[in-house]
């Protein structure tokens, strides 16, 4: 029984980190492909490599001291609160996109925009600083959100290594698929992935923050899949209701509450 509970918790942890990392890496890959095509692959790959090393260093430097220094109940409350806020933002955005109230993320359009901008920049002799900086920033900024997710989920479940491995696998899988699909990243079902990640982050956030403030969860970790199912029902209900609303029918695609990321 204990083994099953731990197993289900780890599965949800891996799925949440993997999907979150995959979504962010799709967005980063769009930028990297644009850099590679316009400015050359050397500067793009160098930018990616430096960004990945910086992100991994962040996890190594911040993660273990967090686990050692902060009491578990405090860590769970703070991290659970962060996950709740972050997860609700993702879920809200995915619901608005699914119901047609917000424009879907168009990787093809972003790719075309990046290519146009990078082509306009003057070519540099030797190492291409523009390509390096754009690739580095793209991967580092998108990766920062992944680092926060890895740190929060990994530290609260005391499985930082597993969370980091799941994120690393996502980077590899998205890179391979991205190279195969080349410039057809719009075929990746990004909104569905974002919805799944939002559901898991909100569920983990509810569970850990609840643990931090003293909630007694019946079934312990088994409450997490139950929370995922309950929030999925709420998300489906909201998407359905909003899809049928007068605003959604009249204006299928608007730019509601856009933020710079994802």
């Amino acid at each position: 029984m204990i083994g099953t509970v731990a197993h289900s918790g780890s599965l949800v942890l891996v799925a949440a980190v993997f999907l979150a990392s995959a979504v962010e890496m799709v967005e980063a890959l769009t930028i990297v492909l644009a850099v590679g095509v316009t400015r050359g692959w050397r500067s793009a790959i160098e930018g990616v490599a430096v960004a990945l090393v910086a992100l991994a260093a962040l996890v190594i430097v911040v993660g273990p001291p967090l686990i050692r220094a902060v009491p578990l109940s405090t860590l769970r409350l703070v991290v659970g609160g962060l996950l709740l806020i972050f997860g609700l933002q993702w879920l809200r955005k995915a619901i608005l996109r699914a119901s047609g109230l917000k424009a879907k993320h168009d990787e093809d359009a972003i790719f075309a925009e990046q290519v146009a901008e990078l082509s306009a920049a003057p070519p540099s002799s030797g190492r291409d600083a523009t390509g390096f900086v754009v690739a580095f920033k793209g991967v580092f900024l998108e990766g920062l959100e992944v680092v926060v997710i890895v740190l929060t989920l990994g530290t609260t479940s005391h499985d930082l290594g597993l969370a980091a491995v799941a994120a690393g696998c996502a980077v590899v899988v998205v890179t391979v698929i991205g190279l195969i699909l080349a410039r057809q990243l719009s075929s990746v079902p990004e909104n569905a992935m974002k919805m799944a990640v939002g559901l898991m982050l909100v569920s983990f956030g509810t569970f850990w923050s609840g643990e931090g403030i003293g909630v007694h969860w019946p079934g312990s970790d088994l409450a997490i899949p139950v929370l995922v199912a309950c929030y999925a029902a709420v998300a489906w209900l909201l998407s359905t209701v909003l899809r049928g609303s007068p605003v959604s029918r009249a204006r299928p695609v608007t730019q509601l509450g856009d933020v710079p990321r994802g």
Binding site: L77, G81, L82, L84, I85, F86, L88, Q89, L91, R92, I95, L96, L101, K102, L144, E145, V148, V202, T206, S209, G210, I213, G214, V215, H216, W217, P218, A223, L227, C230, Y231, V234, A235, L238, L242, S245, P246, V247, S248, R251, T254, L256, G257, D258, V259, P260, R261
Partner: protein
């Protein structure tokens, strides 16, 4: 550097949905207060997800109304 770090966290936590930040803090404060009474700790396992679900509904509804406003 510090400004960039602050901007990241502002965007990360608040962005264009301040109601989610304020709502989560309020919900956790409320349920935390309930949990001071040990008898209510199991009931809190139902109340917390209900409040979080309601917060999500309010925020998406707010976005819909914002989209319906003539200024947008």
């Amino acid at each position: 550097m510090a400004v960039g770090f602050g901007r990241f966290w502002w965007e990360f936590l608040i962005g264009d949905t301040p109601e989610l930040f304020v709502g989560v803090v309020a919900v956790l404060g409320l349920v935390g207060a309930l949990c001071l009474d040990h008898a209510l700790r199991t009931a809190a396992a139902v109340i917390l997800p209900l409040l979080v679900g309601s917060l999500l509904a309010v925020s998406t509804w707010r976005a819909k109304r914002k989209g319906a406003a003539p200024s947008n």
